[in-house]
């Protein structure tokens, strides 16, 4: 099977959906521009025309409401924003309208809108260009929150989101865009709410999401070398959240580390640990742990982002700490060739 990048998979999912259904439309600031939202919307306007694929004014709140109006009339809008942070202007439309519309009208009117939001990271993206707000969105009943890691999942989950009858927040981490995986050319869907067991092991359960899954994969490879075998669960969505799979795993391992890309308090990781305390108490052999950011906005400075962000090393250290393994100089296991604030040498900023 061919390998394509996460960005290409997103592009392909939209193309596929728009071919499958005339109801699907795509819009957002920059959608038809030469860069095509980091390549994810390239070619769409050429194929489907200006009525179904269009640029917008810099008006996030109104454009969200417009999407809701279109959705209650049978369209399936896909709206995209270059950063999550820009979409915050639309929280009224999202939370008061999209999330509740069907409910507050007694279940007679659904809102099938998909809102793609890109999460920035590194290169000085700082306090207002790199927020990880999955728990904020997940706290709102009526919203689904999808947060894929692999290109394969991105395509299948985006197709599922587009054809879901309820509003979906679709969070795409910028550092995943260049990562490749096997992706079928055909149309396929992955159900929302089913996590992915990336690796099987009986010593420890690690739950991660989005880009943190990539870091966790590095960590479990090193853990394997010292004889620690992990279940690694990639959540794929945080609402609904696949507690079943986590409970099943914790029942087996008795130990849990929840990894999140957001600040730690009130995070998705916290929710997972809460569920574990309630539902898996009898199986726990050790107190669960959380790998998440400290409760602070993201700094811009290159001098701070290394210690601010977590990666494979921090996950590894939590794991051996939880297991009571003593080991020195663990940092040497994760020597990076590239500066810490870019996804690869190819990235030279600025956005």
């Amino acid at each position: 099977m061919r390998k394509i990048t996460f960005a290409e998979a997103i592009n392909e999912a939209i193309l596929t959906a728009m071919r499958e259904s005339k109801d699907v439309i795509t819009y957002g600031l920059g959608v038809p521009d030469p860069k095509g939202v980091f390549g994810t919307t390239l070619g769409l306007q050429d194929e489907f025309g200006e009525a179904r694929v269009f640029d917008t004014p810099t008006s996030e709140n109104a454009m969200t409401g417009v999407g809701i109006g279109a959705a209650i009339n049978g369209l399936r809008p896909i709206m995209v924003h270059q950063r999550v942070d820009f979409f915050l202007l639309a929280l009224d439309q999202l939370i008061n309208n999209a999330a509740k519309w069907n409910f507050m009208f007694g279940g007679v009117c659904r809102v099938p809108i998909t809102i793609r939001l890109i999460v920035g990271h590194g290169w000085g993206q700082g306090p207002t260009h790199s927020q990880n707000l999955q728990s904020l969105f997940s706290q709102i009943p009526g919203l689904k929150v999808v947060i894929p890691t692999s290109a394969y999942d991105a395509k299948g989950l985006l197709l599922e989101s587009i054809f879901d009858d309820d509003p979906v927040i679709f969070l795409e981490h910028r550092w995943l865009y260049g990562l490749k995986s096997n992706v079928p050319k055909s149309s396929y869907r992955i159900p929302i709410g089913k996590a992915n067991l990336v690796n099987e092991g009986s010593d420890l359960t690690i739950v991660a999401l989005s880009y943190m899954t990539i870091e966790a994969i590095q960590a479990i490879k090193e853990l394997e070398k010292i004889g620690v075998n992990c279940d690694l669960i990639d959540l794929r969505s945080t609402s609904p959240l696949d507690f079943e799979l986590i409970r099943k795993s914790v029942k087996k391992t008795g130990k849990l580390i929840a990894v999140d890309s957001s600040s730690k308090s009130f995070s998705v990781a916290s929710e997972i640990i809460a569920d574990c305390a309630i539902e898996s108490y009898n199986y726990l052999q050790k107190p669960p742990r959380r790998v998440a950011l400290e409760d602070a906005p993201a700094p811009t400075s290159f001098g701070l982002t290394n210690s601010y962000y977590n990666g494979a090393l921090e996950i590894y250290n939590e794991a051996i700490g939880l297991l009571g393994i003593k080991e020195e100089n663990t940092g040497s296991k994760f020597i990076k060739e590239k500066p810490h604030d870019v996804p690869g040498e190819w990235f030279k900023g600025p956005f």
Partner: protein, 312 residues
């Protein structure tokens, strides 16, 4: 300020911005950076009419506004380098500048979101009975946000001492006005219908900008209410970053060249008094080189600095 002072101020900003563009590839300024090259006249024309205590708020493209208001150059460059000596101690980067000592109250990265803050500054000035004005810079794109309308509306009702400056450079990132606003829309006419005094000028003509703002400030201070000025201008470089991008296909090279002919600095470059120009160049370049040196050699904020800020 006479004409040559205005020009000198623009030249200084141009040279600062070009120095950033030239050094960006060294990869020491690691943050999204929106340059003001081509748009210097508005910043200078406006700020030359403000007192130190008058306030300015701005957007993602704020270097020119910050410098024109008198913001410290060393602190700005250090901020872009992510250093603890930066105006925001390395927390904010290029898009989050502040220098309260000169009334530059902050620039932010989210389109439109300092417009109401400037109105709030004006509200405080009114309640505190200060004879000052608050001034906010924003782009054509920001006029598409609901908060733009809401802020102006409130400022009118409360007769607040606020000056709205719209820098219309035709684009919001790579999206031209034609896909964002109705054909023939004049932003300044639209807002006049809201009930605010509003005019429109050549944003590449520093003297004209200055004259308009002098008048607007007088009107505000003599109780005529908030004022709105729209100025036409053009961003020369890419939306974000150091390069030219006329080749990628969202705008024509000819359009850029037309605007380049209207360079706000052309009087300087065409000035016959070459010695005078050379003296200015040398003076500014020396200052700028030193500022880069200062920024480059400053320390990054430490974890302790970070903790101090988040816990203070």
């Amino acid at each position: 300020m006479n004409l040559s002072e205005l020009q000198a101020s623009m030249l200084r900003i141009r040279l600062v911005e070009e120095s950033i563009a030239n050094k960006y590839s060294e990869q020491k300024m690691r943050c999204p950076t929106h340059l003001s090259i081509g748009q210097e006249a508005i910043a200078v024309g406006v700020c030359s009419n403000l007192t130190n205590e008058d306030q300015v708020l701005s957007s993602h493209r704020a270097h020119a506004h910050y410098l024109a208001k008198g913001g410290c150059l060393n602190s700005m460059l250090a901020e872009i380098y992510g250093k603890v000596t930066g105006c925001s101690k390395g927390m904010g980067g290029s898009m989050h500048l502040i220098d309260k000592s000169v009334g530059f109250m902050g620039s932010t990265a989210i389109v439109g979101n300092t417009i109401p803050v400037a109105v709030g500054s004006a509200l405080a000035m009114k309640i505190q009975e200060k004879k000052l004005i608050s001034c906010v810079f924003f782009g054509d794109g920001a006029t598409e946000e609901g908060v733009f309308y809401e802020s102006i509306n409130f400022a009118i009702i409360h007769n607040l001492p606020v000056l709205f400056i719209c820098e219309n450079n035709l684009y919001s990132v790579y999206s031209g006005l034609e896909v964002r606003q109705p054909k023939g829309r004049k932003i300044f006419e639209m807002v006049r219908a809201f009930g605010i005094e509003s005019s429109h000028g050549d944003g590449n003509n520093v003297q004209q900008v200055s004259d308009y703002v002098e008048l607007a400030r007088d009107k505000i201070l003599s109780g005529n209410g908030p004022q709105f000025l729209e100025f036409d201008t053009y961003r020369w470089r890419e939306h974000c970053g150091p390069n030219y991008d006329n080749d990628i296909g969202y705008r024509e090279e000819e359009e850029f060249l037309e605007w380049k002919k209207k360079d706000p600095l052309k009087d300087i470059f065409e000035n016959k008094d070459l010695d005078l120009v050379k003296v200015l160049f040398n003076k500014f370049n020396a200052e700028i080189q030193q500022a880069h040196h200062f920024a480059d050699n400053s320390e990054f904020p430490s974890d302790k600095d970070f903790q101090q800020i988040i816990n203070s």
